[in-house]
Amino acid sequence: MLKLDKKDAVTFLFVVAITLLAPFIMNPFPTESGLAQFNAGYPDLMQRFVIFGIFAIGYNILFGLTGYLSFGHAAFLGMGSYAAVWMFKLLTMNVIPALILSIIVAGLFSLLIGFISLRRSGIYFSILTLAFAEMSFRLAYSVLTPLTNGETGLQITLKDPRVLDAINTTGHQPVTSLFGLEMRNTATLDIAGWAFQFNVGYYVSAVFMLIAFYISMRIFRSPFGLMLRAIKTNQTRLNYTGLNSRPYTLAAFVISGMYAGLAGGLLASMDPLAGAERMQWTASGEVVLMTILGGAGTLLGPVLGAGFIKYFENIFSKINDNILHSWFSFMPESLETFFTTIIHPFVGKGWHLTLGLMFMLIVTFLPGGLVDGGTRIWNRIRKNKKSSSSAASSTEPVE
């Protein structure tokens, strides 16, 4: 199917099913229950899951395959967002031209930055990309204020020209749409205490994510992908064979830059604001974390990692002391205070701490990330089954 072998086709269908059913899967708890706090099935967060999924999938093509650790990919995400918002301001509220421009802009900038940075490898490459990204951030934050609106962030206003759209006489801010289908439209399905939200913006982003995932899958299985892996394994040896590896790394860099641009454009399409902070080095670090957490060089890993980090950022950061008290209210006063005090540093504004601990544990015990964890569990289950059915063990090929 779709020129994929059987195993990949199953993986792809699995991803399709998960993304389409996400509004159900992310909302396991009834709305009125105390655990509803942990529900992630609301449009904004689901959009973030798939958009940052795209970002991480793209990053993985560079880092996972070639091993080049870029610390500046957030710059392309930010450029994509700015390009998209400018399209909303000047041309139309339709997301398609905005997304096209954001991919082009990010592609051009990654070509430029990649061309310079890829003259070096290893730590020097990382430092160069970091420098370029930080430079872009500083420019967007203050020097280029007329273009980026500085710290406030670029927003759409009633007075923008929008030459392709009909003149807006409603007095309301226009909303982003796909040929009239508004991104913010949400249908709610109420079933026995559960409220499942189906959001247009989410499904549009999800379709882009699936396309992005499919393309990355084909790249992984292509001769080009094999070449990229060869670069990761031993670039020096590759060069000795008389092969110039730079065009391949540059191509990977530009492709991942365009993925980042698409993600940035989608972010702006869901919420038409572009802030300079999304270009900061912390944002670049975040995508590195996502990829490593999920499993660098694996197909599913980056998507899982992106979901994991965004979940912590949005759910754990909102647990405040009041909620803690209500959880432990069944306990005696002193015990309640004790537990609240213990947990307090790990939730609310302390969510970074929890994330850091999880990252540490995963990197130490599951070097291959979440995917590694999944594989280990799967293997154990299979082993148990096998050993119980027949004692004969079969030798498996290495790859």
Binding site: Y42, D44, Y141, G171, H172, T188, D190, F198
Partner: protein, 447 residues
């Protein structure tokens, strides 16, 4: 030709699937409510979106305390605070419109992106009907835009930029706090009286919307009293070491340094200026002076000794002796053990004003609330007679000019009120040049 076989199991399966398919559109209830997040149960949820990390975290923490106090008072707990002195008597301590007030909190991280994500999750996940907070004008403007699009009310917290109710004003957004223009208009006469008309000012300005508009306001106000402006230097918000910015001031020929900084920025820049010995210097035969146009107690406390004798303006101060301020300071002090800051005061007022507007409108519909807030005149919330102007959703009230106290009696008693500038002196027309370029648009209820 293929043969179709009907099995009992197959028919049950197919009919179940078809049934589900037909039922789907009827189950999917598109926005049926009259407005965004219409509260249908016994409670109503408010969203408190404040910086808990970053340069303005101190202000954010104090705002959160005041919000919790306001919710307690609205639900009938505590001593009622300023509800007893408020000129409108609609609030009975039984929640808002008989619904118990609940709240959710979020961290804006003093970043527009994070603030919007946090506000969005409050609206989409927690069904908040009103978002309030923000301790940075950039964030307030970004969140105000979001609330306008989503169809909920935004009650701005600590935001002092002219743009919040100027260039970037929105029909769903309301601001109780004063702004840069008012600071300039209130400060200039005092500066003229203290330092004379023949002065040259050097501005250090935080590089974002608040800094720009405040600097513009102060420059215009001081030039109107005869001062000259030597230079304006923009400093990034994330700066912590200001020595390289302070060093060139002495050679510029200026004899006044204006610090358009707030929070941690102001503490650091003022400390740097004092360490460089600026205040002991004499330039053009006059003592070198420093002015901090926007003051708060939290900042004054952070800067310690350095603030003595330095002039600035503030929205409210806990030492005010009117009934409203006394009641607020008393109930805040009882709950937390120290007096509230101006940030705490303004967000407490905003929460009460929102609740009162909902009571008077008889609905949580943003358009109803906006209508009852527009042109609303009230008293008893610590600032004297106040009006929410309909044209730009800005509150007009007296402005305080304050000075760092020479002999503080406690760690909280660091500012003294020099002058209460009457409202008439700080008022401006809606289409004033510094506020032009935007329009309110229409209120959006999200329906």
């Amino acid at each position: 030709m293929s043969k179709i076989e009907f099995t009992r199991r197959g028919i049950i399966k197919t009919s179940a699937a078809v049934g589900a398919g037909i039922a789907m559109p009827t189950l999917l209830t598109s926005p049926a409510a009259a407005y965004t997040n219409e509260p249908k149960g016994k409670t109503v949820t408010l969203g408190f979106n404040v910086p808990q990390t970053g340069a303005y975290a101190d202000e954010g923490a104090d705002e959160l305390r005041a919000y919790e106090l306001a919710v307690e008072h609205l639900n009938g707990g505590g001593d009622g605070g300023m509800m007893n002195t408020f000129s409108s008597k609609e609030l009975k301590g039984n929640g808002i419109l008989g619904k118990k007030v609940e709240f959710v909190t979020g961290d804006t991280q003093t970043k527009s992106d994070a603030a919007r994500a946090s506000a969005k999750s409050m609206i989409e996940k927690d069904n908040a009907v009103m978002i309030t907070g923000g301790s940075s004008s950039g964030v307030a403007i970004a969140v105000q835009g979001l609330c306008q699009e989503a169809g909920v009310i935004f009650m701005a917290g600590l935001t002092h930029s002219n743009d919040t109710t100027g260039k970037d004003k929105k029909a769903n957004g309301f601001r109780h706090f004063f702004n840069g223009y008012m600071s300039g208009a209130a400060l200039a006469p005092v500066l003229l009286e203290m330092y004379g008309p023949d002065r040259t000012a050097y501005h250090l300005t935080a590089d974002y919307t608040w800094g720009w508009t405040q600097q513009e306001s102060i420059q215009q106000a001081t030039e109107a009293i005869g001062w000259k402006t030597a230079k304006n230097v923009l400093t990034p918000l994330a700066t912590t070491d200001f020595s390289s910015y302070v060093a060139p001031v002495l050679n510029s020929g200026a004899d006044v340094l204006v610090l358009n900084h707030y929070g941690g920025n102001m503490i650091n820049s003022l400390t740097a200026a004092v360490q460089f010995g600026l205040r002991a210097k004499e330039v053009n035969g006059k003592n070198f002076e420093i002015v901090v146009p926007l003051y708060s107690r939290l900042m004054a406390k952070g800067a310690g000794e350095n603030v003595k004798g330095i002039f600035g303006s503030t929205n409210w101060h806990w030492s005010l002796q009117d009934e409203g301020s006394k009641a607020f300071v008393k109930s805040f002090g009882k709950k937390y053990g120290f007096p509230p800051s101006q940030a705490a005061h303004t967000v407490y007022c905003q929460t009460l004003l929102y609740a009162d507007a909902a009571e008077r409108a008889g609905t949580f519909n943003p358009c109803g609330i906006a209508e009852s807030l527009e042109g609303f005149k009230f008293d008893g919330l610590g600032n004297g007679a106040t009006e929410y102007r309909a044209g730009d959703h800005q509150c007009f009230k007296d402005v305080l000019v304050v000075k760092g106290k020479e002999n503080p009696t406690s760690e909280f008693d660091v500012l003294e009120v020099v002058k209460v500038t009457p409202r008439a002196q700080v008022e401006y027309p809606v289409d004033h040049a510094m506020f032009a370029g935007g329009e309110l648009g229409k209120c959006n209820s999200g329906a």
